[in-house]
């Protein structure tokens, strides 16, 4: 708790409730994301983690509760609202357009226009600048790709995920939310993406990582948010708790009061 005062909270949610008919997907769930950390969100199927993430990324509006960003209460009605507030989301199903180039994908929906009349009257895109900026974004994250004019479909799964992550990292001002970023990837490509997530954090952004993959979670998370039955039941310190106890908490085989106090973050 000593460090809690030193670290600033970037994003916070209190008492989030979301009901679908008789099903309560979120049941007064809390959430706290600190500046410059990787917070893993884990939970069994139906624990409410994807509903939580959708509420944070603007994909749905909670029935009750409030979300604060930098201490200010925010109401996201669409993903665009969240994005304007500086929160970027990397979706599980690789939200890229495969036939378009890397640069076009990075700037999709946020294209840069040429300066002067060519841009303002003729609406011409500044393709050169977008390619150059793409190159520097990708280089900053050390994603090795030859040409930004190359179509995304020519890339490997890991590289494609790299494009999606780079897009988020390039435009996020506060938070990057990643939904199962390694789910579709092989071992080597997964570790590349994990490195990438660390570099995103090291640039000062806060990362929310939703993952089923416990080894990956333990490899890179600074703290672990455990969701169960629509609530946050614990925040864990991955250095102080075993993977099997974490899974036991997630499934209800252990309760939070049964784990060592110092394992709770």
């Amino acid at each position: 708790m000593a460090t809690a005062n030193a670290t600033t909270v970037v994003m916070e949610a209190r008492g989030l409730v979301k009901r679908y008919g008789h099903v309560t997907a979120l049941d007064h769930s809390d959430f706290e994301l600190r500046s410059g950390e990787i917070l893993a969100v884990i939970g069994d199927n139906g624990a409410g983690k994807s509903t939580l993430i959708k509420a944070l990324s603007g994909a749905l509006a909670p029935d009750e509760g409030e979300i604060r960003l930098d201490g200010q209460v925010v109401h996201f009605r669409t993903p665009m609202d969240a994005r304007r507030a500086g929160i970027e989301t990397v979706y599980q199903d690789l939200a890229v357009a495969p036939a378009l180039s890397i640069a076009e994908n990075l700037f999709l929906g946020r294209e840069l226009r040429r300066p002067g009349v060519l841009g303002s009257v003729f609406r011409m895109l500044d393709k050169k600048k977008m390619r150059e900026d793409s190159t520097s974004h990708m280089r900053e994250l050390r994603i090795e790709i030859g040409s930004m004019a190359q179509a995304v479909e020519t890339l490997s799964g890991g590289q494609r995920q790299g494009v999606a992550v780079a897009r988020s990292a390039a435009f996020a001002r506060h938070v990057v939310i990643m939904d199962e970023p390694t789910a579709a990837l092989g071992v080597k490509q997964s570790s590349m993406v994990l490195d990438l997530i660390r570099r995103v954090r090291d640039r000062g952004l806060s990362v929310v990582l939703i993952s089923h993959d416990m080894p990956h979670v333990f490899e890179i998370a600074d703290r672990i948010h455990v969701a169960r039955l629509g609530k946050r039941i614990a925040i864990l310190n991955p250095e102080k708790i075993s993977m099997s106890d974490t899974v036991a908490l997630m499934t209800g085989a252990l309760t939070p009061d049964q784990v060592a106090p110092d394992a709770l973050a």
Binding site: A95, P98, L100
Partner: protein, 313 residues
């Protein structure tokens, strides 16, 4: 690799067909004959511009030719029988085709109906309205101004029709918008991965609606060219254009699955169809065989698209 081939392939096919017909007929490569090919292609060529936009979004517009015929009847009847001035009659005719584009677009985006079904319906509706409004009669005695785009000028002894210039200008404009502007790239993104487009904040339904509306505008311009070329308003025009436009788009390398292709490819595709028809006619081949060959070409083009996509995976 397959991308490069996709862009160059149709052009090579056009060159090969031209070379073939040049060896079969002395008249084929003359300026006058090529001018005729362009005139024959100009109506379907302009329709194919709108059709390309629709197909790039993974849609299809089966109603294009009959909507064009409706536009032609509206503008000629207004001008010839109601004494409306030519510019206003033309504007109302283009307005009518644009309304049909709007109808197609609204049905596709608001009610989420498949474009194939929507435009199959509007094809019949447009055809029926055209027949009813014209009493199935060809509209004649048009004011001179209606035919202005059918006029010609000469470039080094070769006759050029103004309508062909209009067609080429529209192609240049569309190619520019598709390549160089965000709106154009969004058309590709929406066709390629609508979910990704939506998640990046692109107003996907608005892009699709705009594409059908713009397609309606091109059908109206095509109607004007058709009137200028034939000098009459023909209620039975456009029936071959319905499928010829799609044929041109597909031959030009645009994928029916959306998100891939170029509008200039559609011009090449329209020219391929035009060159085959013209060349086979010069060789004295019956028109039934021309239809047969067009059919085979379309299947070849779609098969090539499908196979190259499979290779890309």
């Amino acid at each position: 690799m397959s991308r490069a081939l996709g862009a160059v392939g149709p052009f090579l096919a056009l060159v090969a067909a031209s070379v073939f017909f040049a060896t079969r007929s002395d008249r084929f490569l003359t300026g006058d004959n090529l001018s005729i090919v362009l005139q024959q292609v100009m109506v379907v060529g302009v329709i194919a511009i709108g059709e390309t936009l629709v197909i790039l979004t993974a849609g299809v517009d089966l109603s294009c030719g009959t909507v064009m015929a409706l536009g032609a009847i509206v503008m000629t009847k207004l001008a010839a029988e109601l004494g409306v001035s030519a510019p206003l009659a033309i504007a109302v005719g283009i307005g009518a085709t644009t309304l049909f584009g709007l109808l197609n677009g609204l049905l596709v985006t608001r009610i989420n109906l498949p474009p194939f079904i929507v435009t199959l319906g509007t094809l019949n509706i447009a055809f029926a309205i055209t027949q009813l409004y014209s009493n199935a009669q060809t509209v004649t005695d048009l004011p001179e101004a209606m035919n202005a785009l059918g006029g010609t000028f000469h470039v080094g002894g070769t006759t050029v029709v103004y309508g062909v210039v209009v067609m080429l200008a529209l192609y240049a404009l569309t190619a520019f918008v598709l390549r160089e502007t965000a709106a154009g790239r969004h058309v590709y993104a929406v066709g390629n991965n609508p979910e990704a487009a939506r998640l990046t904040g692109i107003a996907t339904p608005r892009v699709i609606l705009a594409v059908y509306v713009l397609a309606g505008v091109t059908y109206g311009i095509a109607a004007l060219l058709s009137v200028a070329r034939t000098g009459v308003g023909d209620p039975n025009a456009g029936q071959t254009e319905n499928l010829d436009a799609i044929t041109a788009v597909v031959l030009g390398g645009t994928s029916l699955f959306g998100g891939r292709g170029t509008v200039l490819g559609s011009l090449v595709g329209a020219l391929i169809v035009g060159v085959f028809r013209n060349g086979l006619t010069l060789m004295g081949v019956s028109s039934v065989y021309q239809i047969l060959i067009t059919g085979i070409l379309v299947i070849l083009a779609v098969a090539t698209d499908q196979l190259s996509r499979r290779g890309a995976r």
